[in-house]
Amino acid sequence: MKEIHYQDIVEEVKEMCKKSNTNLGEDVYSAFRKALKTERSETGKEILAQLIENADIAKAEQVPMCQDTGTAVFIVEVGQSCHIVGGSLVDAINEGVAKGYGEGYLRNSIIYHPLNRKNTGNNTPAVVHIELVEGEHLTIHMTAKGGGAENMSDLKMLKPSDGMEGVKKYILSIVKEAGPNACPPLVVGVGIGGNFERCAYLAKKSLFRPLGIRHTDPEIAELEEELIIEINRLGIGPQGMGGSTTALDVKIEVESCHISALPVAINLNCHASRHQTITVN
């Protein structure tokens, strides 16, 4: 059985936290460049140009691209034949987050309790989702998820009779309602199916797929493409000041569900779509 050491996980997580906040992914950066060419509004173009310059400065100076350095959210694929030694996986992740946010001069945005609002001071606890998989690898996916777009996310238990049209209508209504608050241009993550809690997870998980990569199911891929077009017709534009770039991408994940249900969750991501993946050996 393969052994993975606690301290190695801490070190990897620490670096992921720092890197995700300073180095915008190539996929998002190219999406900005592409949008700059197609955006119809002059204000929209100016905003996209500022976002490109911002990403360049953040990378060159190794400073956070956004002051909201997010909730650290992890999806961890744990191979069932690997053995973590020296401590628990969740403790290792939290220690890595605390170190990464401290060393990286990142903002601590997590509070102990939603009602007393006292800051924990090191951006932990992280949100950790564990998926047990075959094999002996440990793959960690991490995102620094900003609060503005998270706050405009939504979940609805639609009726089966609402069908495809109902799903589309609901997604468009949520993007419209979010307007400037979610910091467009957005990445729109959608979960369809599962049950109440599973659906929200699917929406979050969909955001980990790099921009420009379509779903492997051609029908879902087509729905993603259709929604990109429909959302960009809403006119919201960069920062909601009007324009043709409202969504950089739409990601959908689908799962089986109950005969009575059509759950749909929409997890909005601002343009600072900060994702990292590593495999610990």
Binding site: S41, T43, C66, Q67, Y105, G148, L234, G235, I236, G240
Partner: protein, 182 residues
């Protein structure tokens, strides 16, 4: 080309500002977000005056990242303004003239902006590293215990914003979307 404005705002400038204008602001602004707004307004009800005189001033809704050694401030982009809506009309009554943030304001705040002849500016959300370059100094002046949410006095130089809501009732979020909706 953006128009350059030196703070504090004067009445002529306030009248000339139109929703959608690109502006570079220079001068003094104060930071305040959720926790500072809540404390200011709740303490005032108990008879404790605001810790800073807001008359004629501009508030920036921001919770910056920690400054690296030798830097004035960390990354410092705008946060969502709507969370301040509950408290904003009272601050406008006390003479606040401008706000910098991002996102929708409530109908009450928009009416209040017109009534009290003030302006709501939007900075580009998520352009925090770029925006920080135009912040030359930062000093905590109140509520230090609130950490990133403390009230800071910032000296800004050519700080890039857009006019979102002007004193004439203009709203670029509505006008912009109407123009580009297909």
């Amino acid at each position: 080309m953006p128009k350059e404005i030196r703070l504090p705002l004067n009445d002529d400038e306030l009248i000339s500002l139109k929703a959608g204008d690109r502006i570079l602001l220079s001068g003094i602004v104060y930071t305040a977000r959720d926790a500072a707004h809540k404390r200011m307004v709740e303490q005032e009800k108990e008879g404790i005056p605001f810790p800073i005189d807001l008359a004629g001033q501009v508030l920036y809704y921001v919770g910056p990242t920690p400054a690296k050694p030798g830097e004035a401030i960390g990354s410092a982009g705008p946060t969502t303004s709507g969370r301040m809506d509950l408290y904003t009309p009272r601050l406008l009554e006390k003479g606040l003239k401008g706000m910098i943030g991002k996102g929708y304001r409530s109908e009450e705040v928009k009416r209040s902006i017109v009534t009290h002849k003030a302006v709501y500016f939007g900075a580009v959300g998520g352009a925090a590293a770029l925006i920080s370059r135009s912040i030359k100094s930062a000093e905590v002046v109140a509520y230090e215990d609130l950490g990133t949410e403390a009230i800071r006095k910032l000296t800004i130089e050519k700080f890039p914003v857009f006019v979102i809501n002007d004193i004439h009732g203009g709203d670029i979020y509505q006008e912009g979307v109407a123009k580009y909706k297909l």
